[in-house]
């Protein structure tokens, strides 16, 4: 357990400060390679639009991973996440320009358990869209 956030210091209602994660096409290409998910809607604008999407969209699992970084960067240990679940409510549209998309992620502690864990509710937005719902994680703290 390498985390730097101590269970004793955290209370229900503790907020995890909001962070912004830029998402550009290169990130989706890297994620496709690393995860093995080569679905064309995540890298081919022509096909994405042909199937009715506004543009290339990020892998839902990439968005989930970025939101996970809010938690693991905060607590200092990527292996501290005991449970992590999300619903993919809206796609993250990633245009081919110098900006791409921006994910804005924040969290709040909803429950503190006697076993050294806390339950954190995560909010993730791209522009005005709430891209994850029911996003919740159980994290073991130091």
């Amino acid at each position: 357990m390498a985390g730097t956030v101590k269970h004793a210091d955290i209370e229900v209602g503790t907020e995890i400060p909001e962070r912004s994660f830029p998402v550009q096409r290169v990130n989706l290409v890297m994620y496709a390679g690393a995860s093995g998910d080569f679905n064309v809607i995540h890298w081919n604008e022509r096909i994405a639009k042909a199937v009715g999407l506004p543009d290339v969209i990020a892998h839902g699992m990439f968005t989930m991973a970025q939101a996970g970084r809010l938690i693991t960067d905060w607590c200092g240990d990527p292996a501290a996440v005991v449970e992590y679940g999300v619903r993919f409510s809206r796609p993250v549209v990633v245009p081919d320009d110098d900006q791409g998309a921006t994910l804005t992620v924040s969290g709040v502690v909803e429950d503190k358990r006697d076993d050294g864990t806390v339950v954190v509710a995560i909010t993730a937005r791209s522009g005005e869209d709430k891209v994850l719902s029911k996003a919740q994680t159980v994290v073991r703290l130091a």
């Binding site: 390679g33 991973a65 996970g68 240990d77 990527p78 292996a79 449970e83 679940g85």
Partner: protein
């Protein structure tokens, strides 16, 4: 065409184990922008009490694609049209951290198929164990089969 309900409960074991390497953890961490030394540096991971470098919390999604050829979604009898599929929900329950050197065995199963409006939802569960049979993780995934519920009475 609605999905074949007879397939609920069917199991899809991976045909061979998945060997977790340091380099795969590093490249996955790079791809998601996780710069933690615990994903890259064995000494740092060991100083933190882990046997080797640790995987980020969504790492096990790689199993889904590694074993795509034997996954439920390509089972012809199920009747799923992959072009109609979107990812609805995902949940990881980690029984212990995944570290480099782990040899993972996974068995996917179809947990549930149900109607939600005009769509169908299919829940799969993947149980991941190590070489000794110790549980590593349970992964739940819900996919949405768009528009396929139309011809069922449940809809």
């Amino acid at each position: 065409m609605p999905l074949n309900r007879d397939y609920v409960g069917r199991q899809y074991p991976a045909d061979e184990p998945y060997e977790v390497s340091r380099e795969k953890i590093r490249s996955f961490a790079d791809a998601i922008g996780d710069d933690s030394p615990l994903c890259r540096n064995r000494s740092a991971a060991q100083a933190a009490g882990y046997a080797d470098v640790v995987a980020p919390p969504t790492f096990l999604t790689v199993l889904n694609f590694r074993y795509a050829a034997s996954s439920p979604v390509v089972d012809p009898g199920l009747g799923l049209n992959y072009a109609l599929v979107v990812h609805g929900e995902q949940r990881f329950v980690h029984h212990r951290p995944v570290v480099a050197g782990d040899v993972l065995h996974s068995v996917a199963s179809i947990e549930d198929i149900r109607v939600a409006g005009r769509n169908e939802l299919m829940v799969t569960k993947t149980e991941v164990t190590d070489d000794t049979g110790e549980p590593i993780a349970t992964i739940y995934s819900t996919i949405v089969s768009r528009g396929t519920a139309g011809s069922t009475r449940e809809g």
